[in-house]
């Protein structure tokens, strides 16, 4: 969190983390498409020629003045492919909250678990204690046929304490519920600094 008292701005960074093709970029694309242009900036995606995220996606949301401060939320995604481990760590730097986008399909359970362990490892290296950073779990692709129960996904990922939302990001279902939940968690934690 960064507060600029001169400009009366509060900047918060939220990172969408998860395995490859779990729907992180789709979340941001939907938010960008449905949000009033007056409160959002341009969305940028650094992609490969194969349309996969190579570094990050970025979208800034800026709400009007609240209690004399102007909140800005910087939304990032990380690249999900295994070999972009270094890029994920860079994007995670300075995060105030994380949305873990899990792929609900049975055959992606191991990828989900590997990626959340990678996230926990990176956070520990950055000095975060366990449960020290606000986390929301999003179980995406609930419209697909071969999906695991949400309870099992939460258990396997060790996210039983985090708020959890079922989603179909391609249709927007659950996208804004997830966003509101992480913003509220992040702001509640930041409140002591305001």
């Amino acid at each position: 969190m960064f507060i600029n008292w001169k400009l009366r701005e509060i900047n918060l960074k939220i990172v969408y983390y998860g395995p490859a093709l779990s729907g992180k970029t789709t979340n941001l694309q939907y938010i960008h498409a449905k949000t009033n242009p007056n409160i959002r900036g341009e969305m940028v995606s650094l992609k490969t020629r194969g349309d996969r995220t190579i570094y990050f996606d970025f979208l800034q949301l800026e709400l009007g003045q609240i209690a004399g401060l102007k909140p800005r939320f910087n939304l990032y995604t990380v690249p999900g492919q295994v070999y972009y481990v270094g890029s994920r760590k860079l994007v995670l730097q300075g995060a105030d909250g994380v949305v873990f986008v899990a792929d609900s399909q049975w055959n992606r359970m191991k990828a989900n678990v590997d990626m959340i362990r990678n996230m926990e490892h990176n956070l520990r290296e950055m000095g975060h204690t366990q449960n020290g950073i606000p986390l929301v779990l999003q179980c995406n692709k609930r419209d697909l046929p071969a999906i695991a129960p949400v309870k099992l996904i939460r258990h396997q990922l060790g996210c039983n304490g985090a708020p959890c939302f079922e989603s179909m990001a391609t249709q927007g279902e659950g996208v804004f519920d997830t966003l509101k939940a992480i913003i509220n968690l992040v702001v509640n934690q930041a409140q002591q600094h305001i």
């Binding site: 600029n4 949000t35 800034q60 609240i66 105030d96 509220n184």
Partner: protein
């Protein structure tokens, strides 16, 4: 790791003075300071196109990646600069105290040597400020007079409630 920090008005003024001076002396179009996580701290001058918040996020990622690249090839100094020379617009970036990024955007009529020279001086001044800045990390600010979280939740409902 930098976590929470609040920039007091007097320090914001000092940063602005450094950026204003750099902007004038280097004949730059725009200068900005961001932190390494991509948060835009201060900007002076303007971009003809582009959003400073977006530019800051990309610059921070670029510099952080270059610092890591340097480390991978055995370079021990964390000091790092990057130069992109375009046909009409160019960008010079330099990390500051390994936690911030100074970015200079300049046009084809500006000499890169001038940009490097004055950016180097600005980096020295900013590094001195960064020492004070680090002491502000995780220091709580003044308590809010109203419940910011509750007010924000109302605003979020207004902005996204229909979804």
């Amino acid at each position: 790791m930098r976590a929470n920090f609040a920039l007091p008005v007097d320090m914001a003024d000092q940063i602005e003075q450094i950026l204003v001076s750099l902007h004038r002396m280097a004949e730059a179009e725009c200068v900005m300071l961001a932190d390494i996580s991509g948060q835009l701290i201060s900007v002076h001058g303007g971009l003809e196109e582009g959003d400073p918040a977006l530019v800051a996020a990309l610059a921070a990622g670029d510099v952080a990646a270059m610092v890591e690249l340097s480390r991978q090839i055995g370079e021990e100094s964390p000091s790092c600069s990057l130069l992109h020379e375009g046909k009409h617009k160019s960008i010079y970036m330099h990390n500051v105290a390994n936690g911030f990024v100074l970015l200079v955007v300049y046009g084809s009529g500006t000499l890169v040597g001038m940009v490097r020279l004055f950016a180097g001086r600005a980096v020295e001044k900013l590094e001195a400020l960064a020492v004070e800045f680090e002491e502000l990390v995780d220091q709580p600010g003044a308590p809010a007079s109203v419940d910011f979280g509750a007010a924000l939740a109302d605003e979020l409902e207004k902005a996204f409630g229909e979804f």
